[in-house]
């Protein structure tokens, strides 16, 4: 058993919180530049130029890309040959979020209760997803998630007879209904199959995939392409002002389904599609 001190995990989470919020991924920047070249709307072009400038300013000054520095969503892939020492893993992750959001001048956007709404003032607790995997490493992924785009997400329990068309229509309608709200150009994460919660988690995980990579299954990579074309034909465009670039990418993840069910979840991310990872 390899020993890993949870204090090292806390430090990593703090650093990843700042890194993810200051430094837009190269894949996203490349995708924004490609969208700028392809954009036909002058207003849309102007917005894309602003977004690319903004990413540069944030990186140069090490300040948040967006003031909404998000819910701290943390994925942990925990090697089964790792022995965690030094305390509680969940507490260590929250300690890391507290440190990263405090020292990094990131906004504290979490309220302790969904109805009574008192701010926890340190952006904790994080939403933590842990998978046990083979090996003796710990992989941490920090994916801050803004509220504006998260609010535009949708889930539906479709039935098998709805077929591929039903799935595609549901996803395109979710993007259409979202319109200007989720800060387009967006990234569309889709989870199909499993149960209600499995589909939602797959949709979230789909947002972690590098832009430019498609589903490994040719049927689903073709579906991703078809949906991307359909949503970009909606005309929503950058910031919803009209144009081609409504979405930068559509990522689909799937899981086996019950004979009676076909759950579909759509998790929308804004153009600040943030995630950073580290392996300990």
């Amino acid at each position: 058993m390899r020993k890993v001190d949870v204090a090292d995990i806390a430090v990593a989470i703090a650093e990843l919180s700042m890194d993810a919020n200051y430094n837009l991924g190269e894949d996203v920047l490349k995708s924004l530049n490609e969208a700028l070249k392809a954009e036909v709307s002058p207003v849309g072009k102007n917005i894309l130029v602003q977004l690319i400038d903004n990413a540069r300013i944030a990186r140069d000054n090490q300040v948040p890309i967006c003031q909404d520095t998000g819910y701290a969503v943390i994925f942990v892939e925990l090697g089964q040959d790792v022995h965690l020492v030094g305390g509680d893993l969940y507490e260590a992750i929250n300690q890391g979020v507290r440190k990263g959001y405090g020292e990094g001048y990131l906004r504290k956007s979490i309220v302790a209760d969904p109805i009574n709404r008192i701010n926890t003032k340190d952006n904790t607790p994080a939403v933590i997803h842990i998978d046990i995997v083979p090996g003796d490493k710990v992989k941490l992924i920090m994916a801050p998630k803004g509220g504006g785009s998260e609010n535009m997400s949708a889930v539906k329990m479709l039935t098998p007879s709805d077929g591929a068309k039903g799935v595609i229509d549901f996803i395109v309608n979710a993007v259409s209904d979202a319109g200007s709200n989720p800060c387009p150009p967006i990234v569309v994460g889709v989870g199909i199959g499993g149960t209600l919660e499995k589909a939602a988690l797959l949709a979230k995980k789909a947002l972690l995939r590098e832009l430019g990579q498609s589903n490994k299954d040719s049927f689903y990579s073709a579906m991703e392409k078809e949906i991307l074309e359909k949503v970009n034909n909606l005309g929503v465009g950058p910031q919803g002002f009209g144009g081609r670039a409504t979405a930068l990418a559509v990522h689909i993840e799937t899981y086996p389904a019950h004979i009676a069910s076909m759950p579909v979840a759509v998790n929308i991310n804004c153009h600040a599609a943030r995630h950073k990872e580290r392996i300990i």
Binding site: V40, S41, P42, V43, G44, N46, I47, Q50, L51, D53, N54, I57, A58, N61, V63, P64, I65, C66, Q67, D68, T69, Y105, L106, R107, K108, S109, N119, K121, G147, G148, N151, G179, S180, N181, C183, N233, L234, G235, V236, G237, Q239, G240, F241, G242, G243, R244, C270, H271, A272
Partner: protein, 190 residues
């Protein structure tokens, strides 16, 4: 692209110059306020108590900035989704507010109130928060410090960029822009 420059306080005739789709640069004073501040102001109006700000002729920006670093005037400061303020906006327009700034579409009730009270809704670029913060030259706390990022600040800005979405003539840039660039199967057949 022609850009119109505006500053508060604004009169009806200033606002009537602004058309959906216009790019504007704002200089001078804007007030911040989002969900919690709107609710507090709404409650004060309901109970007839004095307000922390006289909104007549002024602009309000739906923003909850990230904390400022010691060397900064303000942290990153992009717009939040305006739809959540819809319930409160007609009341502020009645008080004389002339410009609200955020992102995303507004309810029909807000759009009608903008026409009625001769006011406009502008969008600034959601997620361009570091860029927008650079236009802020001064930030003073006005009310509700207990709300943290949701407190009301008086900002002085210089060439803050925004786009007119809803004008006093009932036009909506989101609807028009989308219609202009939509590709339907019907059009492909044409």
């Amino acid at each position: 692209m022609k850009v119109k420059k505006i500053s508060a306080p604004l009169r009806d005739e200033d606002v009537m110059q602004l058309k959906a789709g216009d790019n504007v640069l704002i200089s001078g004073v804007i007030y911040t306020g989002r969900d919690a501040a709107h609710k507090k102001i709404f409650d004060l109006v309901q109970s007839g108590e004095p307000l922390p700000v006289d909104f007549a002729g002024q602009m309000i920006y739906y923003v909850g900035p990230s904390p400022a670093k010691p060397s900064e005037i303000i942290g990153s400061a992009g717009p939040t989704t305006s739809g959540r303020m819809d319930a409160y906006t007609p009341m502020l327009l009645e008080l004389g507010l002339k410009v609200c700034i955020g992102k995303g579409s507004r309810s029909q009730a807000v759009r009608d109130a903008l026409v009625k009270h001769k006011a406009v809704y502008l969008a600034s670029t959601g997620g361009a928060a570091a860029l927008l913060a650079k236009t802020v030259k001064r930030a003073d706390l006005v009310a509700y410090s207990e709300l943290g990022p949701e407190a009301v600040y008086r900002l002085e800005v210089e060439d803050f960029p925004a786009t007119v979405v809803n004008d006093v003539y009932g036009k909506d840039l989101y609807e028009e822009g989308r219609k202009k660039y939509e590709i339907t199967n019907l059009k492909e057949v044409d």
